[in-house]
């Protein structure tokens, strides 16, 4: 839970109010200037009405250079950020040819598969020559190759379910599966901080949606009891089915989901559990099998497991894993399987090779090393940041760490200062987070070495002092002994 200090809340509201007031003033003058120049709309309604893009025009454009920074190298632990210049006060940004080598604390590269890998890349290039870059057809038409069949089997074994189905994009997986599983007359109960793809999928399904407080199993139980007792709105007929949607690791909080309690509640009330492991598959758990392994939940208790390959496997695409009948049914009805191009063969090969490395089937112990490295890295980084006095969210073992900024002016200050000192961070503000709770989000990777992290901590500490985000008192440093001297008893 984030408890914002009272003074910070006041100053944040004041800053937003000031920005809003200035924005309205500029809009007012813009109306006059535009009234002179004839508008060339000629009877059409404007494509974006006045207040819809107010936030974009007046607030976001001021700090546009903190987002969407292009890179010209693979998103590994160190990468090249392309510098951009603006001639019209940040309204448009042009690329220059200058690049700066920065430490990457923003990409989802949990196990370090982002750049060319010694085991995966030769196999991927071979697959490219054999199956070419795309199949140009849907899975039910000419798009299922032997590679796709192998991929689905490998994924199902890795996740711990009887069978799996793979689509070409994680976002589409959620948006196309939920409408097929639940229709009118069903109920979807989702966590209040679920990802946009789940929200879109739930809306597109036509069923009723209810929200329970983030990661609070007791509130989930209350909502379930209430809903089952009341039934469908207005007619009070009993619900056809209830699906509870939760995520493994929430990407904006870094928290793990309280899966054992939620699964036991759902079992008691006969609701189905849908687990979205976009960030946790491959990154947590002893052998990387995700949040079920970490928290000791049997995979047979979770009805539908979904995940993406973009984060830990360095590829693209999404999967759904479940019982054999479920996957057969989904393959027959899911639009992502029937209408969309199948996953690109080189990407499929990357996933298969990455899973082989993680399980150690490539003959080396790189997989186990990577998993141990990321766990160690995340815990070390988080504890150091907390010692320095930053407000860091998230649980132990989770590689995602948001640092709270709150104030809108601190967002560009933190981002630009860190970039000047060659550390690339990601800052997130409204609308991805609530208005008051802007934050900087750090994603640790297994490719980061101890020196990288020490440098990053130094830079963040310095910038944190400059910008003023150390909301908690720093722990006093233990007195350091000089080298060579032993402690005198």
């Amino acid at each position: 839970m984030i408890t914002i200090p009272y003074l910070t809340a006041l100053t944040t509201y004041f800053s937003y109010g000031l920005l809003f007031a200035f924005g309205q003033l500029r809009d007012f003058f813009r109306k006059f200037i535009d009234w002179w120049k004839a508008s060339n709309l000629q009877g059409y309604a404007p494509i974006c009405l006045g207040l819809e893009d107010f936030y974009i025009r007046r607030l976001y454009l001021r700090i546009q250079d903190c987002f969407g920074r292009p890179i010209s190298s693979p998103p590994d632990a160190w990468f090249d950020v392309v510098e951009r210049v603006s001639n019209d006060n940040n309204k448009t940004l042009k690329r220059t040819t200058k690049i700066s080598r920065c430490l990457n604390l923003g990409s989802y590269n949990y196990l370090g598969f982002a750049a060319a890998d010694e085991y995966c890349t030769p196999r991927v290039t071979e697959t490219l020559q054999r199956y070419s870059a795309s199949t140009c057809s849907t899975r039910v038409e000419g798009g299922t190759t032997a590679l796709h069949v192998e991929l689905e089997q490998v994924v199902a074994d890795f996740v711990g379910k009887p069978s799996a189905m793979v689509t070409g994009m994680g976002y589409v997986t959620n948006s196309a599966i939920l409408p097929v599983l639940v229709r009118n007359g069903g109920l979807i109960i989702s966590d209040s901080l679920n990802h946009n793809s789940i929200v879109n999928g739930a809306r597109g399904s036509g069923s009723t949606i209810r929200v329970f407080q983030h990661n609070t199993p007791s509130h989930l139980e209350r909502v379930l009891r209430e809903q089952i007792a009341e039934g469908q709105p207005r007619t009070h007929r009993p619900w056809k089915k209830i699906i509870v949607v939760v995520e493994g690791i929430y990407s904006m909080e870094g928290e793990l989901c309280k899966l054992p309690e939620i699964v036991s509640i759902c079992k008691k009330y006969k609701a189905y559990v849908y687990l979205d492991e976009a960030h946790s598959i491959g990154a947590v758990g002893k052998t990387g099998r995700g949040v079920c392994e970490l928290l000791g939940v049997d995979t047979a208790d979770v009805d539908i497991m979904m995940g993406t390959f973009t984060k830990s496997f360095g590829s693209c695409g999404g999967y759904i894993a479940g019982s054999k009948e479920l996957i057969q049914y989904l393959k027959y009805t899911c639009p992502a399987h029937l209408y969309a191009t199948s996953i690109s063969p080189p990407a499929a090969q990357q996933i298969i090779s990455a899973i082989k490395v993680i399980l150690g089937e490539d003959g080396s112990s790189r997989g186990a090393q990577k998993l141990a490295q990321i766990r160690e890295n995340s815990n070390y980084f988080r504890s150091e940041l907390q010692k320095m006095g930053f407000e860091v969210l998230g649980d132990n073992d989770s590689p995602v760490m948001p640092i709270m900024l709150y104030n809108p002016a601190k967002i560009p200050a933190f981002s630009r200062e860190c970039l000047k000192q060659n550390v690339a961070v990601v800052t997130v503000a409204f609308p991805a987070t609530p208005l008051l709770l802007a934050r900087a989000r750090i994603c640790i990777s297994a490719a980061h070495t101890r020196e990288d992290m020490v440098k990053a901590l130094e830079v963040i500490s310095r910038v944190g002092d400059l910008v003023g985000i150390k909301y908690f008192p720093a722990e006093p440093k233990k007195p350091e002994l000089e080298d060579g001297r032993k402690k005198v008893e």
Binding site: A45, I47, E52, D53, I56, F67, G68, P70, I71, S72, S73, P75, G106, S107, F113, A116, D117, C120, L128, Y131, A133, S134, T135, C136, S137, E141, G142, T145, G168, M169, G170, Y171, V172, P179, L181, H195, N196, N200, G204, L224, R225, I228, A229, W239, K241, Y272, T310, K311, G314, S315, C316, E325, Q328, Y332, P335, Y339, T341, S344, P346, A424
Partner: protein, 487 residues
């Protein structure tokens, strides 16, 4: 006579008595009291009584049946009694059938289920799938950038190849700007909700594919369908709708059509649509997945085919998984349209970006198209040959346009239900594959798809098919159709 006079006279005498009583009541002694110098008449007493009665009635609680919330025990019982439906309906035989598995690239000649066959099921229209230039650029991209881009576009997922690809597409088509999406299906269903909100008006063809239907549903606007590819129907719908919504100045109005329809292979008559759009002041959203790189002299799509300047269409989207032999999708239009999508299109903002090797494949494909315009003429000749070759086929008729690269054959006489139609066509396709080594597919449909057009056999023609391939296809389809539809 006497009775007729009697009734009114009795009535008048009653009335007189009543009025006497009332005047008497008014003049009753106590009613002439004087309070504080004010003369109180008798009527004040009546009014006072009325006031007391009103106050008494108002102060009474209205009768509401007592509210009794459910007790915990009752809720427990309800929860125990409730039995949910199973997660999926029982699995039928046709669901268990596995599709064909390829063991080679999906080019014009494939190895399927162990045997060689000619492939008419991949939308590899220009035959660029195994082109050397594409494979080389992909290999160099893979070695430089790895496979995935590991992040959304806003958070260090923008690689310079993405920006190069966007500028190349915009240059090729002649539009100001373009935006890349990471999946073909998500392009339309993210672009539409970014521009159409609740209360806006959208006129759409009834044969559009699921991606567009989902986008329309998510946008919550008012949706009106018109008959598939019928301009008369479009005009009458526009007429009716403009009459109903005269006052709407801030209402945004769109027409959504596909250039070559995925569900029927027809080509939309763009010149007529432009005329209607300008007359009724609607904006046009065009999906060019099957026509980009195919129609027009140099492959620039439907606008070049009909000789319409491209800035008359407001938003053009396309999936790159067809002619460009890559994956993903793009959207082009004016600067305002594209910039707005960079922050409000959910499939762009909340999803990882396209893998860089696919973006470089798209750039290489566009380069090849520009240098070799003869591919487009070859494709056009091939589609004409196949369409004319299939004209006399028994039991099936051509539903698509002669110029379309997607040849769609539907049943002349439907068996009545969608399922049995599909079963018949699938048997036909299986036999064509087994007996003649030609791979074609049927247009399967999901139950969430609202399209009502008839199902059929879809044949994708490619510029890489030779004359003998096309002839083989025509002959095999004709012979199997003859045997299926005579017995």
């Amino acid at each position: 006579m006497d009775l007729a006079n009697y009734v009114p006279s009795a009535f008048t005498s009653l009335l007189n008595n009543a009025s006497e009583l009332i005047t008497f009541a008014y003049d009753v002694p106590f009613a002439r009291a004087v309070v504080f110098g004010v003369h109180i008449g008798g009527h004040l007493f009546v009014e006072g009584l009325l006031l007391v009665v009103i106050i008494f009635l108002l102060s009474q609680k209205s009768y509401k049946p007592p509210k009794r919330p459910l007790t915990t025990k009752e809720i427990d019982e309800l929860c125990d009694e409730w039995v949910p439906e199973s997660l999926i309906p029982p699995v039928t035989e046709e669901m268990k059938k596995e599709g064909p598995v390829l063991s080679s690239a999906a080019g014009p000649h494939i190895i399927i289920n162990g045997k060689e066959a000619v492939n008419f099921a991949s939308a590899n229209y220009l035959g660029l799938m195994d082109h050397k230039k594409l494979l080389d650029s992909c290999t160099s991209s893979l070695e430089k950038y790895g496979v995935g881009s590991c992040g959304p576009r806003q958070f260090y997922g923008t690689i310079d190849v993405h920006l190069d690809c966007e500028t190349r597409i915009a240059e090729f088509l002649g539009t100001p700007d373009s935006i890349l999406y990471s999946y073909g299906l998500s392009t339309m269903f993210s672009a539409i909700p970014a521009f159409c909100k609740k209360g806006d008006l959208i006129i759409v063809d009834e044969g559009v594919h699921w991606g567009i239907q989902n986008g329309l549903y998510l946008s919550r606007s008012t949706i009106v369908y018109f008959k598939h590819n019928d301009m008369q129907s479009l005009q009458s719908t526009l007429e009716k709708v403009t009459q109903d919504n005269k006052r709407a100045k801030k209402l945004r109005r769109y027409i959504v059509v596909e250039a070559v329809y995925q569900n029927s292979g027809q080509i939309a008559p763009l010149d007529e649509i432009i005329q209607l759009k300008e007359k009724y002041k609607f904006r046009v959203l065009l999906d060019e997945s099957n026509s980009f790189g195919v129609l027009g002299k140099s492959g620039r799509g439907l606008t070049e085919h009909y000789d319409v300047p491209i800035d008359k269409i407001d938003i053009i989207t396309a999936a790159m998984g067809h002619a460009l032999a890559s994956e993903g999708g793009f959207c082009t239009g004016s600067h305002r349209v594209i910039d707005h999508q960079r922050l409000s299109s959910s499939g762009y903002v909340f999803s990882a970006s396209l893998p860089p090797y696919l973006a470089s494949a798209a750039i290489a494909a566009i380069d090849v198209i520009e240098e070799n315009p003869q591919l487009i003429t070859k494709l056009r000749d091939n589609s004409k040959t196949l369409s004319t070759g299939l004209l006399g086929i028994q039991g099936l008729e051509l539903a698509s346009d002669i110029m379309s690269p997607l040849v769609f054959l539907r049943l002349k006489k439907s068996t009545g239900s969608l399922k049995s139609d599909l079963q018949l066509l699938e048997d036909l396709a299986d036999r064509v594959l087994k007996e003649h080594g030609v791979f074609v597919t049927t247009s399967k449909r999901s139950f969430v798809d609202k399209c009502n057009l008839p199902v059929g056999i879809r044949i994708y023609v490619s510029a890489a098919h030779t004359e003998s391939d096309l002839q083989k296809a025509c002959e095999s389809l004709k012979s199997v159709a003859a045997s299926v539809f005579t017995d």
